[in-house]
């Protein structure tokens, strides 16, 4: 069964500092990988996704993530954090569709980001 681990429940950074949020996944084949962001009282918004190809993926709002197969990781990074980035971030793995698989998404427990001015 697929699973996602986000080791950091809560991270605090200063505005303008760099950011890295960790994500490790377990999946039997090459996965689909996603990062979502959730602001208080809001639904989830897709930041970026990896399906195949270049392992460094660019997303919206200046975020990027790198897929490292050898480490089963898909860490999210941003070079300079803005106060508006404060939110909860979720990593997710999606199974590839086919046969009896319908492309289910499994989410990690999330990392809450606090940004100090």
């Amino acid at each position: 069964a697929q699973s996602v681990t986000q080791p950091d429940i809560h991270i605090t950074v200063s505005e303008g500092a760099s950011l890295e949020l960790r994500c490790n996944y377990s999946y039997g084949a090459t996965p689909y990988l996603f990062w979502y962001v959730q602001s208080p009282g809001q639904g989830l918004q897709l930041l970026l996704k990896y399906f195949s190809g270049d392992t460094l993926v660019q997303g919206i709002k200046g975020f990027e993530a790198e897929f490292k197969r050898s480490q089963s990781s898909f860490n999210l990074r941003k070079p300079s954090v803005h106060w508006s980035d404060a939110a909860e971030y979720f990593c997710a793995v999606g199974e590839r569709a086919g046969g009896t698989s319908y492309g289910k998404l499994t989410f990690g427990q999330g990392t809450i980001l606090t940004v100090h001015p």
Partner: protein, 114 residues
């Protein structure tokens, strides 16, 4: 383009009562998902529809939860009777090609069971 709509946004009920949530997906999206997000956890898929057929309901507590998607568009998720542990945010999402392609989420319904 209008996003995924959900109602109500908030609901407070007593245990053993019933409750229903409504979702209107983005127009043209064939796949619709219902997730349960308990405080401090990531969303957990409850049920997935492809048009109006169920393709995955393996994590739906079928003794108390039910869902339908009429005519392959709107969907309703019902809980009857509710338990305290059902307190959560219920998120609806939709996607075009389904099957792990980009899912668009609604704002969710926050349910509190007292």
């Amino acid at each position: 383009e209008a996003g995924v709509a959900q109602s109500p946004r908030y609901k407070i009920i007593e245990k053993r009562q019933s409750v229903a949530f409504w979702c209107n997906p983005i127009s043209g999206h064939a796949t619709l998902y219902w997730y349960q997000q308990i405080l401090g956890q990531g969303p957990k898929l409850l049920i997935q529809f492809q048009n109006n057929g169920v393709v995955d309901d393996s994590q739906l507590p079928k003794d108390r939860f039910s869902a339908e998607r009429l005519k392959g568009v709107d969907s309703t998720l019902k809980i009857q009777p509710a338990k305290l542990e059902d307190s959560a945010v219920y998120l609806c999402a939709s996607s075009t090609r389904g099957l792990t392609y980009e899912q668009y989420f609604g704002p969710g319904t926050r349910l509190t069971v007292t």
